[in-house]
């Protein structure tokens, strides 16, 4: 029962607090007899796991960024003092932003179509968006290389049917990165938007039309605003996940499309500047955190992600 002391459940803490002002009031014996606390202790393995594989390493990375190769702020001044590295950071956010826009533009109509389709086609659409999810990221990225290269499937077909004479530049540039990353991120955009759209009362759209709104007005004035929580959740999920991409931009992108993940990998395995790589990782984490804090000022993040109603 020592576990109850180390991780008291919320309920226990609250009730203990409640009891303070009126200790004289006789309290009925709790029927559950600490059952809830025992259930609560089920979370312990996860807490331990996260502690070992996430919190401790992160603390280690943080420490390392200030101590390698020697104690001080050297790594950070290097990073923030160099336009090359800052460019990579800016590039990371730029690409993540573009991927977010692309996936939202593709994902919104896709999710909407899913809500309109019958059970069979909804299932087909759902599988179509999930199948890539079940294949390895590396394999998908190499598949894109085969598709997009100058002698790849797309360029060959387009040349064969005479639409182009010179191959389109689809690989080793921003286009390739956007195509590859958007495909990976699409499920993260579609699923939260679909979940929200499904809960929107379609009778409201009908009511709007009855009140004089054209179908287009009813959609944009009533339906779309009600899907906003889903769009916001998709935006956040895609954007934040995109910031950490490494394999896809490395394989599909050109020299101008280096993202911070790739830079970190190079520092680690290429030039063995572990301290500097740590500083990069921390910088990305901090900037992302600041960005989220900024967003949270305008949007209720907890509600957006379905935490509380």
């Amino acid at each position: 029962m020592a576990c109850q002391v180390t991780v008291p459940s919320t309920r226990e803490r609250v009730s203990a607090h409640d009891a303070d002002p009126a200790p004289a009031a006789p309290r009925p014996p709790r029927r559950a007899g600490g059952l809830l606390d025992r259930w609560g202790s089920l979370v312990l393995p996860l807490v331990a796991f996260l502690l070992v594989v996430f919190v401790l390493p992160l603390a280690f990375v943080l420490a390392q960024s200030f101590t390698e190769p020697e104690p001080g702020l050297q790594n950070y001044t290097d990073f923030f003092g160099s336009p090359v590295y800052l460019d990579v950071l800016a590039n990371t956010f730029r690409i993540a932003g573009m991927v977010t826009v692309v996936t939202l533009l593709l994902g919104f109509p896709y999710a909407y179509l899913m809500t309109l389709a019958g059970p069979f086609w909804r299932g087909v659409l759902m599988v179509a968006v999930l199948v890539p999810f079940w294949t390895s990221l590396l394999i998908r990225t190499f598949a894109w290389v085969l598709m997009l290269s100058d002698t790849g499937v797309i360029n060959t077909v387009l040349r064969e049917i005479g639409l182009i004479s010179e191959p389109l530049p689809l690989l080793r540039n921003l286009t390739g990165v956007l195509i590859g990353m958007s495909q990976v991120m699409l499920p993260f955009a579609v699923l939260p938007m679909y979940a929200t759209m499904r809960s929107v009362d379609r009778r409201l759209v009908q009511a709007a039309e009855g009140l004089g709104a054209t179908p287009l007005q009813a959609f944009w004035r009533v339906y779309a605003p009600l899907t906003a929580p889903g769009v916001a959740a998709a935006t956040l999920l895609v954007f934040v996940s995109s910031l950490g991409f490494y394999v896809t931009p490395a394989l599909l992108g050109g020299p101008g499309d280096v993202m911070i993940g790739e830079l970190i990998a190079k520092q680690l395995s290429g030039v063995l500047r572990w301290g500097f790589a740590s500083a990069l990782a921390i910088a990305l984490l901090v900037v992302t955190g600041l960005l989220l804090a900024l967003v949270a000022r305008f949007v209720d993040l907890r509600r957006m992600l379905g935490g509380a109603r």
């Binding site: 009908q206 709007a208 009855g210 009140l211 179908p215 007005q217 009813a218």
Partner: protein, 368 residues
Amino acid sequence: MNETIAALAGTGASIDVQGISKRYRDTTALDDVSLQVKAGEFITLLGASGSGKSTLLNIIAGFIEPTSGRIEVAGKDITTVPPYKRDLGMVFQHYALFPHMDVWENVAFPLRRRKVARAEVERQVRQALDVVELGRLAKRRPSELSGGQQQRVALARAIVFRPRALLMDEPLGALDKRLREQLQLEIKRLHSELGTTFVFVTHDQEEALAMSDRIAVLRDGALVQVGTPEELYERPSSRYTAEFLGESNIFTGHHRGARFIDATTKADLAVGETGDCAGALVLRPEHAHLAAPGSDIPIGHNVLNGVVRDVIYLGSGLRVEVTLPDGRAIVSRPAARGRYTPEPGTGVLVHWHAERALVVPDHPSVAP
């Protein structure tokens, strides 16, 4: 108050439903329904669930396309006109307020869609909210309002643009009894002061009787009878209407000349009209009088012997259940302090004037 209502008053349009049918793959929701609603009339579509009353309303609103037939509003065919061009106000049972807008924005919505000037929107929304007495809640979200308040907002939103008719689909169905009765009065007041055509859907016969100029009774997708509440109550054309509206004592049997022969007891009863058909005798409880055994019965009255089973005091009168010798029950509603006071378990005479009972044929739809 009355000035603001006058400002929103409009001239209602007539609605002409011509031979409307709606068939789904293997069911018929509406079968050749025709109904003329006069301009400014309060008409109620009354029926049990599945009678097609809501389907008909949604066809008038334009949300459902009829399989065949025509809808005319103010003499113009609108059968293929989309809902947003029909200029009809609609109130739903589930309110259908826009949750992301406050009360004011909800009510302003139909005006904005009609590109009404800003100052005019301000003025008309204010008026509409005053009419439903919700001006002080203008900045609230729908989720912060009670059911009755939400339905009032929905009403304001439906009348703010002075629609040619107001369509209401069981608007009070989700409210508790007290609130429902209060809103019934408010809707009736709105109707008399706005002068717009109201089409009201309900399954509640009391609500229909209390509110309507005319009632259209629907059953299984067909129109059974249309008439004023009084006509439907006093002269139902079918056993279904008689049983659906108000309480009835029903005898099945045969109508012959000016007599009605009860099928089970072969009792020979006098009736006002003459006829020759199988049918039902309908006797409203307030026309069934009670008298002590042996007392004089007025001339022209039918008399049945019975035993008082149950007496309920209702304040304004009594509700007495009498058991007939064949075991059937007959209900009477005498005044509370009449000359005769029924006692449970004692014998009693039930009598009524022949003209007061009505014979309805079993198959009224066969008649042209």
